[in-house]
Symmetry: C2
Subunit: 332 residues, 2 copies
């Protein structure tokens, strides 16, 4: 009967969806070399067997890439967007001392047919990072929402599940006066503070060359190497912190209670980043950006020497003292 | 120094974010009556202790509410959007026979200050459904993305983690010829096919009254009552299916292999829905909508009588036969 509509005529193509799933299957597979999903034929959920753990505690979180997404898409840096999405989530899981096991992504797009090449590259970037830390791409939802999601943009959300043995869980309440904060370098602004960066770039056209902008957009560093090396050396830190929105102060103060620290950061040796920072309020920059430090391990004084060799880029930033508050300055 | 920007000036207000977190804390708390997160002070991830399980298998998935979101927002049905988000995810977890344990949400918004009242209502809706099935609101990310997310809209993604004892996991490969398909009623279109519904409503203004539209937008039914009752009676079904995009055929064929069924559905007694369906291609409607059946349990013939009493609204739809394919018609 004429006048009757099919679902495809309303802009949603389920056949196209199956073709996308085929496109990304090679990427999904390479995230299952270290670990595998368990055989759960016909279920509507991905399944992973934890029965080898003695006392498993699962840990989970969700994050996105924020307004960095828009700049990454303008620069056609799709793989980077995928890596950022993974790192923002996996790093949070790593603060527990556990292993990231399963990752899921949610992609909201305007049109699957036109976006398939780009979201395939996005998934490829995710798979690169997931493969490197042994985490499975366990599922995802690609929602085609014509008229809701702006064209040429993808809404990204990620979600990670990890597991840790109960007795091996990091316990930041153990942090004591005298413990040492070791910072590990970041690879740029990572995925926080980009609303401010964008505003500065709009007000100062030409501030960064394309090459410099792309360098500032480097993907969030994955800190699984630090955690893996610490574990291999038998070192259990008092706390780990992933430095994201809110910078070093907010991300450390959340668990320090009545203790604090005066931190001295090495100069952030990143020219494009420094060009942007000159337009940012001197105090606010520490509360918005990672200021060159994307990860902090807090260890007992007798573990400092070894901990500095975990992963590349470790530097002593300061020592836990009595009294609330993290004060940060950059070394002269 | 003038000319230097703070993060707030770029449109992101972290103080406002803390106020939002306070607003929703009462809702978060009421999802922890049945189950509790384990004490994981200072970690960057939510933690849940599985050590009481003998052989835990975790199950997980992600879903959104699709283009239904837009209509729900136009109708100011924020609580419904929250319920839909939970149900779309929790129902998938329930197909494994496991318990939904943890739920996380990702909300992308344009402005936290203006959107706080609405997203608080959205979270209230989530909490209503989560509380009813004993699942914890374990975390979430509310990303303020001025200029990226359209104003007056919220991008929604949900993630759910459940757990099931290995030996109690539903195994749809056990489905055999002669097994019986029991369908449980839906509460409307649920959260699939709305791009098509919207198109029809645009082409036929006045087709539905506001009251009828709101009735068609009823939240996705949560089928935990069916699964809970089945378990209480000691019944282990061969398979569960959550009927979403693709309708009964795609959601059953995915695990039936060389078997199939000829289903006869009861008339979908829902006037607003029927008014819309008259504009949908006769065949396509079965592949786009749930056609009044949001959940299917497949059970051995000797369990049919009992299974029909699990949850309200159970009806025998047909019997598994040899030969690929699900054919569906509505009873005369």
């Amino acid at each position: 009967m004429s006048g009757k509509l099919t679902y495809k005529q309303s802009g949603v193509d389920t056949i196209e969806a199956q073709s996308f799933v085929k496109n990304i299957s090679a990427h999904v597979k390479r995230t299952q070399k270290t670990r595998q999903l368990c055989n759960a034929f016909g279920l509507f959920a991905a399944a992973y067997d934890l029965s080898d753990y003695e006392e498993p505690v699962i840990v989970t979180g969700t994050d996105g890439v924020g307004t960095k997404t828009e700049l990454l898409f303008e620069q056609d840096m799709l793989e980077t967007a995928g890596k950022d999405l993974v790192a923002m989530n996996v790093n949070d899981i790593l603060t527990t001392g556990g292993d990231p096991l399963l990752f899921l992504d949610y992609l909201g797009i305007s049109n699957l047919k036109t976006e398939t090449p780009r979201i395939t590259r996005l998934v490829a970037g995710m798979a690169d990072y997931l493969e490197s830390c042994g985490c499975i791409l366990a599922g995802g939802e690609t929602a085609e929402m014509p008229g809701v999601v702006p064209e040429d943009l993808v809404e990204l959300a990620g979600f990670c599940i990890g597991c840790v043995e109960k007795k091996a869980m990091i316990d930041p309440s153990r942090v004591a006066v005298g413990d040492v904060l070791i910072g590990y370098g970041s690879d740029g602004f990572h995925a926080n503070g980009w609303s401010l960066v964008r505003r500065i770039l709009q007000q100062n056209p030409g501030l960064l060359s394309t090459e410099e902008l792309r360098s500032a957009l480097a993907p969030t560093r994955l800190y699984h190497d630090v955690v893996r090396d610490m574990r291999a050396m038998g070192l259990v830190p008092k706390a780990y912190a992933h430095i994201t929105g809110g910078g070093l102060p907010e991300n450390l103060e959340r668990f320090l209670g009545e203790r604090g620290a005066d931190l001295v950061l090495p100069h952030w040796d990143n020219e494009p980043v420094q060009k942007v920072l000159q337009y940012v309020d001197e105090e606010d920059r520490f509360h918005t950006f990672n200021m060159g430090i994307g990860w902090v391990s807090i260890v007992a004084p007798d573990q400092v020497e070894q901990a500095l060799t975990a992963g590349p880029g470790g530097n002593v930033l300061g020592t836990i003292r009595d009294g609330r508050g993290i004060r940060v300055k950059v070394s002269d």
